[in-house]
Subunit: 248 residues, 2 copies
DNA sequence: GCACTAAAATGATCTGGCTCAATTAAGGAA
DNA sequence: TTCCTTAATTGAGCCAGATCATTTTAGTGC
């Protein structure tokens, strides 16, 4: 494995990124609950959204802040974190372009139930919650899709609970890597590369374990040639064996 | 503290239970997403539901079965369980009258993602998923409320993940007892009695621990006069101290 | 009241994963 | 190429909680 001098990860920086109307429309069209809409409808909806950029590691909003916006990832990856007073973070999800976050509900005093942080430089489209709600009124199909997607997320959240309570750490980590590869995997010289910066701590916070344990497990996986990994990056060499580990 | 000879729990058996139209309407009216509707609208909706009874411990539907129905608890308590091939169950929730379960989504090949079992004798109203969906089309307000409730459940599922990954078992159990008391608590001679049969195994499966550990913790709580407990029942004597334990 | 059964309690032992404490090395910056 | 920061690794000891094996007891049914 010769001497590498740079991350295999691509450059997410927004230096050149221009949020053209076309790009916005394209990304909005990728949002699962907008995929029934035609081009003209998307143009109308696009009006309601405004774009913002955030640098990697910047916090987009904080847990417990008053929740006013619904957002969509256009570029980059967003990390969804719930934290405890003791400073132990739980990493709930990593979002890719086309996924939404923020708040859906119009219940008066809603607050965000998690903190979201830019995992790379990101571009985000935001709309006021109320605008989004009236949009749901105008497009009942979209409302149904939003319901479906929320129900799906509930499912997978419950599946995560099952993992946390029944599986040993090694299986949990294997599982997480498989999931991430479905979202962020990209063929490369190093194997199926997860196209986002991903530290041992991130993995640990996702698996509900300590950084040290995550590190030991990753080392073991690398020794067995199942993955290939460096500082903040992971590539999967043998997805089948990894999947085997993931379910016992 | 004298010698008790019978459970303090009330009798849930359906021997005498008759699902009169009035009772059905009352319970449907309690369902959070129907609470905007007036009496006449409820009567229409009621037509779409049919009632079934199940004895305690009976399975209502199995995980991975094809999901066709949406159901509402009318009488009794329903246990929501996800199980693993290794036979380790995870108890996701206990539902009280007025709560819904089953499937919301119309995605073609949906299957139930959990098993539901009658925790007591129960009476359930069911409707075909498709009928429910068209109902959501006819009553957009209801659709919005369903979305809100699903989003709320997602929140609390994520909060559960936080607990499982960051809190020690004792705190998790204390927390679960507090939650259950909000749903099932009822003043009684023994304290705030949880009005449902609840074994050490149920608690263990909710907290993601072993029956033995759950038992030890319950014994300790009883020794400290925080709870009062017997076979399949729990009463809370000192909810404040319990809440203190629940958050460190 | 007595006997029976499944739930609960309890004891003893073992271990996965955590914590604390260094050490090593990857990869960006200059 | 070298330096420097911070991520990652590795080791050693420890402990919460699991597991296994009994014993006890609550509560039901007779």
């Amino acid at each position: 494995m010769g001497s590498r001098k740079t991350t295999p990860l691509k450059d997410f920086s927004l230096g050149t990124h221009r949020c053209s109307v076309d790009l916005r429309l394209e990304k909005l069209g990728m949002v699962p609950f907008f995929d029934d809409l035609d081009h003209d409808e998307l143009r109308v909806i696009n009006q309601k959204f405004s774009a913002t950029h955030h640098h990697a590691d910047e916090t987009i909003y904080h847990q417990d802040e008053r929740a006013r916006m619904l957002r969509v990832v256009v570029h980059g990856a967003v990390k969804l974190v719930r934290h405890t007073m003791e400073g132990k973070d739980v990493l709930l999800d990593m979002l890719e372009p086309g996924e939404y976050f923020g708040n859906l509900s119009t219940t008066g005093n809603a607050v965000y139930s998690e903190t979201t942080r830019a995992q790379t430089d990101v571009c985000i489209l935001s709309t006021r919650m109320n605008d989004f709600r009236s949009l749901l009124n105008d497009y009942p199909n979209v409302a149904m899709r939003v319901l479906d997607i929320t129900a799906e997320r509930l499912q997978s959240s419950q599946e995560k609970i099952r993992h946390l309570t029944t599986l040993p750490v090694k299986e949990r980590i294997a599982h997480i890597l498989v999931m991430l590869s479905e979202k962020f995997g990209e063929q490369s010289a190093y194997g199926l590369l997860l196209q986002l910066p991903l530290s041992r701590k991130d993995l640990a916070d996702m698996a509900g374990t300590s950084t040290e344990t995550a590190s030991r497990i990753m080392s073991d996986l690398q020794d067995r040639n199942i993955i290939n990994t460096g500082r903040q990056w992971v590539a999967i060499c043998d997805i089948d064996r990894l999947a085997d580990i993931a379910d016992g």
